[in-house]
């Protein structure tokens, strides 16, 4: 075989496997979407499985008018946005200090941040629940806003430490030679340069808070105070699953994350992900 034939075979194989992976990855989302557009009758009768006929919006109608979905959506938005703003502010200055400033205890704090980021919620959720309860914050969104920084702050800090380190230190030094203070150099030079990274980290934190399930499940018992993941999963506790409106809810819960992710994709391809190391 010549070189080009081998190359063509390889490329053909790549496209073949890619096709299989795409089907596997995308089918559940396709299925979720068409289920949300099917009528109750069609779902029960197993006709035209792979396309809604007719396309109906009764599931969305029922979801928005007869369930607490809009309330949960608002709750999720409040919790995710507030905890993201908090985490980004705290994480950005913390990351700058750990990446750039010289002070005693810096190495220890860097390690502590990383280890905190790696400690999983399944170890912390029960004592954190006890603590939130003791503070009188159980069953309130404030409890979640207070708890989510336990994973978003270490994450944002770790991500941005790498980002700050990639900005040449000479930029700050020359600003300081021109008379700027450390803080001035941070605010005028470094922060504007790091803005895309800060935004990316904030959006990551937002999706984490938006998707969070365990703390929200444990801390909240009042149906009206639920966030989207807990609210949606609550639909399956009854004997009769309303798959149509459940899938409609799943679609609407996924949309904000996908929108955020379209912006984030280029950072993820560059390796700015949860592990975030250059290798």
């Amino acid at each position: 075989m010549t070189k080009t034939t081998v190359g063509r075979l390889q490329l053909g194989l790549s496209y073949g496997v890619l096709g299989l992976l795409l089907v596997m990855v995308l089918f559940p989302f396709y299925w979720m979407t068409i289920t949300s557009l099917k009528s109750e009758d069609q779902m029960r009768s197993l006709v035209s499985m792979f396309w809604p006929s007719p396309v109906v919006f009764e599931n969305y109608d029922q979801l928005l008018r007869k369930t607490d979905f809009t309330k949960w959506f608002a709750n999720s938005a409040i919790v995710a946005v507030s905890s993201t703003l908090l985490a980004t502010a705290v994480g950005t200055i913390g990351a700058y200090a750990l990446a750039r400033l010289r002070f005693r205890g810096r190495a220890f704090m860097s390690s502590a941040t990383l280890i905190t980021y790696l400690v999983p919620p399944s170890i912390l959720f029960i004592p954190l629940y006890a603590q939130i309860r003791a503070l009188g914050l159980s069953d309130s969104l404030a409890g979640l806003i207070a708890a989510y920084p336990s994973f978003t702050v270490p994450f944002v800090t770790w991500l941005l430490m790498g980002y700050f380190e990639s900005i040449p230190v000479e930029l700050e030094e020359s600003a300081m030679i021109d008379g700027a203070t450390r803080f001035g150099a941070f605010r005028r030079i470094i922060l504007p340069l790091a803005a895309p990274g800060v935004l990316a980290a904030a959006l990551y934190a937002f999706t984490q808070a938006w998707n969070e399930f365990l703390y929200a499940l444990v801390f909240i018992t009042d149906v009206k105070q639920r966030t989207l993941p807990v609210g949606l999963s609550g639909f399956i506790t009854g004997d009769v699953y309303g798959w149509g409106y459940l899938m409609a809810g799943a679609v609407l819960t996924t949309v904000p994350v996908i929108v955020v992710y379209i912006y984030l994709q280029k950072y993820m391809v560059e390796g700015l992900t949860a592990g975030s190391v250059k290798g």
């Binding site: 559940p28 502010a89 913390g94 399944s122 959720f125 203070t181 340069l193 790091a194 798959w243 992900t273």
Partner: protein, 331 residues
């Protein structure tokens, strides 16, 4: 990447009066020597440094360190929700060690984690190799393959709950009516023989794109000359993979495997939504077991003991992983 298009601009002079220890703004001999002494002991940027990490320290102490220590204490007590804890020493740990349900949850957790991580590693490598093989529309396909990783876990678990459904689920429809592989439908999540594999599949499905994207980033950082040199030396495709690609992404592989092992071992949502540990405990894993112990049986002390039993292996993973992650950064 962040530095493009920057032209250094002179700074307004009022910045001089700002915060920070960059320049000694103090006047008079005595304070200056004290400031110099402090800077020598605490580091040249200690004031701004401590100010900037203060909020983080407060949060980490309050939200992680304190609950963690409190957890260790609670695990040594008998504690019911709403009642004060009663100290019982190591009783919870001793009782758990001989508890058959706990033992099964430990075994299941290991099976769940090990099987998931192996397949995620394999599929992630396949994904990265495809995406570096010169296909068209690479960034579009990368984006599409990443969707399971970014979609809310709860949504994905609910999707699969519906797909796996015994009577109306599309998986049975495909296998029985379309491809005619099976004579009749399977209760994927309700039968002990298939429940664990079904749950593991969802974890793999959700997690492999993270492996793929991380390996992809690592492979793209390998200099092209290495491949050219290997090709000149007559290395085959397999040899180039073995001797150029794998060493090039070795650190990333270790980090991703360790990270995913921690996450998988602690995955709560997928098992909780799909099976709640059933049928008959066949998919019971430690996080769900701890949850049910705490909020089903209301035995908080024992539930925390379950969680803390996970700690020694996790601590080991975390320490090793933290080393690699810091090393990866140091370059």
């Amino acid at each position: 990447m962040a530095t493009t298009g920057l032209s250094p601009s002179p700074l307004p002079s009022r910045e001089r009066a700002g915060l920070g220890g960059g320049f000694p703004a103090e006047t008079g001999a005595r304070p200056r020597t004290m400031a110099v002494e402090l800077r020598r002991i605490l580091g040249s940027d200690w004031r701004l440094g401590y100010l900037f990490i203060l909020p983080m320290v407060v949060l980490v102490l309050g939200l992680v360190a304190y609950p963690f220590c409190y957890a260790i204490y609670l695990s040594l007590t008998q504690k019911y929700v709403g009642l004060p804890p009663v100290f019982v020493g190591f009783e919870n740990y001793v009782r758990l060690a001989s508890d058959g349900f706990f033992q099964r949850a430990v075994a299941n957790s290991f099976v769940f984690t090990f099987a998931s991580v192996i397949f995620k590693l394999f599929l992630g490598m396949v994904m990265a190799l495809i995406l570096t093989s010169g296909i068209r529309f690479r960034s579009l396909f990368t984006g599409l393959l990443l969707i399971p990783w970014v979609a809310p876990t709860v949504v994905s678990a609910l999707n699969f709950l519906w797909i796996y459904d015994g009577s109306l689920g599309v998986l049975n429809y495909l296998l029985v009516k379309v491809f005619r592989i099976l004579p009749q439908g399977v209760g994927w999540l309700s039968e002990p023989g298939t429940a664990m594999a079904s749950v593991i599949f969802v974890n793999i499905w959700r997690g492999f794109p993270f492996f793929g994207i991380s390996f992809l980033a690592g492979m793209r950082a390998i200099p092209g000359e290495l491949y050219e040199a290997a090709a000149v030396d007559g290395a085959s495709v397999v040899q180039r993979f073995r001797y150029v690609t794998i060493p090039g992404i070795r650190n990333i592989m270790i980090i991703v495997i360790l990270l995913s092992t921690i996450w998988t071992f602690n995955d709560f949502a997928i098992v909780y939504i799909l099976t709640k540990g059933g049928p008959g405990g066949t998919t019971q894993v430690l996080p769900v077991f701890a949850y049910e112990m705490a909020f089903g049986a209301q035995r908080l002390g024992e539930a925390i003991a379950v969680a803390l039993y996970m700690l020694p292996p996790l601590a080991l993973l975390i320490i090793v992983l933290a080393r690699y992650m810091r090393k990866g950064r140091a370059r």
